[in-house]
Structures are given as structure tokens and as C-alpha cells.
Symmetry: C2
Subunit: 182 residues, 2 copies
Amino acid sequence: MKKSDFPVDRVRRFLEPGPIVLVSSRRGERTNIMTLGWHTVLEFSPSLIGLMISAGNHSFEMIRGSRECVVNLPTTALTDTVVRIGNTSGAQIDKFAEFGLTALPAAEVGAPLIGECHANFECRLHEDALVDRYNFFIFEVVKAHVAPRPKHPETLHYTGDGVFMVSGRVVSRRSLFRPGML
Amino acid sequence: MKKSDFPVDRVRRFLEPGPIVLVSSRRGERTNIMTLGWHTVLEFSPSLIGLMISAGNHSFEMIRGSRECVVNLPTTALTDTVVRIGNTSGAQIDKFAEFGLTALPAAEVGAPLIGECHANFECRLHEDALVDRYNFFIFEVVKAHVAPRPKHPETLHYTGDGVFMVSGRVVSRRSLFRPGML
């Protein structure tokens, strides 16, 4: 999947809708992937996002230690893989190998991109003030890669209980917006 | 729309998918409503959620001052109203009156519920450590009200540029989950 550079101050296009994402990390020679549904956009520029990474995850110490990660956006083509990644631990398996995913080198961070995902957002830790109390990390997106097609990929939105909502259909209300609000 | 009490430790069902929400507030005799897409679940119990409320909003000081709000979940039936709420300011208009919305009394907070929304989550400020630097508020959901039907309401997920994705269709992968992960 060929991807293009994408402006980091516009990543809300993909993250504000609230999809499940795959967070990849590296510590030394080890890589890992976790599923994550608890995240939010925080600022356009610098491009800040907040991730709640539960301390029980194998990825937690890898990310806290390396102060980097990649947020990857899977589409419904990867539904089963998303679930399997969330139901296994990197303490036991190499998830890239186990699930046949392609680890590609990132431009700005050591963590790998997941080739099969629609978009990849390279992130560097910006603020750790709430990590100890809430496992809440604020990252700056320092580089973004997005596949040009499909224009409106179907994404997965987790509800708990093994059930996802699917987003993809779009509705425009541009005509109702004041120009300064777009 | 008749609603039932809903367990506060299960509000991720509605908020983790990342919908646009309407945040209602009260300060003295004044009420207001804002649209918000930058939020995340942070903890099951206590039921914590994080909201990035830009300081430019009229709601910001009302919420910071009162330390309360209600997070209301609109469905696609309210699409135009959601956009209009986001394109006007409570400094100029009374949004409940202007948009024909019903302000209902909450059980635990002073801010009003929006009767026409599918769900209402009453929130009390839990942590303000990142409010000054990032406009990021951590609230505890202290009471939740949810309409029993439809079971899978269509929700709006904002992408910027006046365009929303619509979620509603669900896919289950319960069979792929380890029991402890459900």
C-alpha cells in the first residue's frame, strides 16, 4: 500500500472520528503492537494526541521507556487481526510475525510502521504529567503517512463486549458551517 | 424519549466509538451547549472521561467555574442541530431556545440534560491538572441515562471540513475474544 506524506496538523481527519487504532512500539530489538480505543486529539499545531495506555499492557513499559510509538489506522479489512492483536500479549509472541504484518521503518522514530494499515502517525512523547496517575500519554505526531485511496475507508469503533461499530458512509454539512469554523 | 439508568462503569459502550457529543452546562441562570469531538474514555471505575474544551468556547468558563457538565449523545436525527450548535456562540444566543431543545433537570449536577439526545452522562470535575496547559478536563461520570431503543443508534463522527462519518452498523467478533478480555 503506497502512502503519501500527510500534514501532521490535519490528523484529526482520521483520529477525531474515534477509530480503534494499532499502536506499534520498539524497545531495543523487540517490537510490539497493541489495540487502543481510548485516545483523543488535543491540538492541531503542534499536532498533539492523548492516549490512555493501560499499565497492564506489555507495550506500556516499551512506550514509556522509548518515549515513542506509531499510531496505525486499520480498516475493516483487518478486523480479525485487530481482535487477535488485542487478545494476545507481546510478552509471549512477536505480533508482526504471528499475524503476517509488515514492519516498515519510520522516518522520525524507532518504532515500526504497520504496512497494511491505511495511515501511520509517528509519535514522540510530549507530556508525561498524567502517566503515573492515569496512564495518559500526550504525544506529538511528528510525521504522518496516509494511503490516497480509498478516500473514505471503513474504520472500526469499539463498543466493548466484542462488538464494533463500522464507520465509512459520510454526510457533509459544509453548507451549514460559518467559513471560519471549517 | 424515555430513558433508563445505565451503569456508569459501562459508558465506554457509547463514548469509546468516538462520536460527536453535545456538552451542556449551567452557571447561575445561564445554560449553554457546545459540540465536542475531542474526548476519550480514561477509566471504567471510577468512570473517568477526558474532554478537551477549547478555551475559546463560551462554555469553557461556565464549565471550569461550575466544575460540572453533562455529556449528551446525539444521533443522526440531530445532525443539522449538532452543526448549528457548533456554529453559534452561547454569548449571543440561548441554544436550548434557539434550537428547540428540551432542558431536563439532572439528578446529580446543576447542568441540564438535553432531552432529545439518546444518552446523557452527568459529569463532575475530577482532575484539572492539565486544564491550564492543554484545556484538558478529566470528569467523573456520576450518573448515566440511556434510551433503551434503538439498540444501535446511528452516531456522528467528525472528520473536519464539515464532513461526518456515520456509525451504526455493527460487527461482532465475540467468538475471537478470550473470556477475560470481554
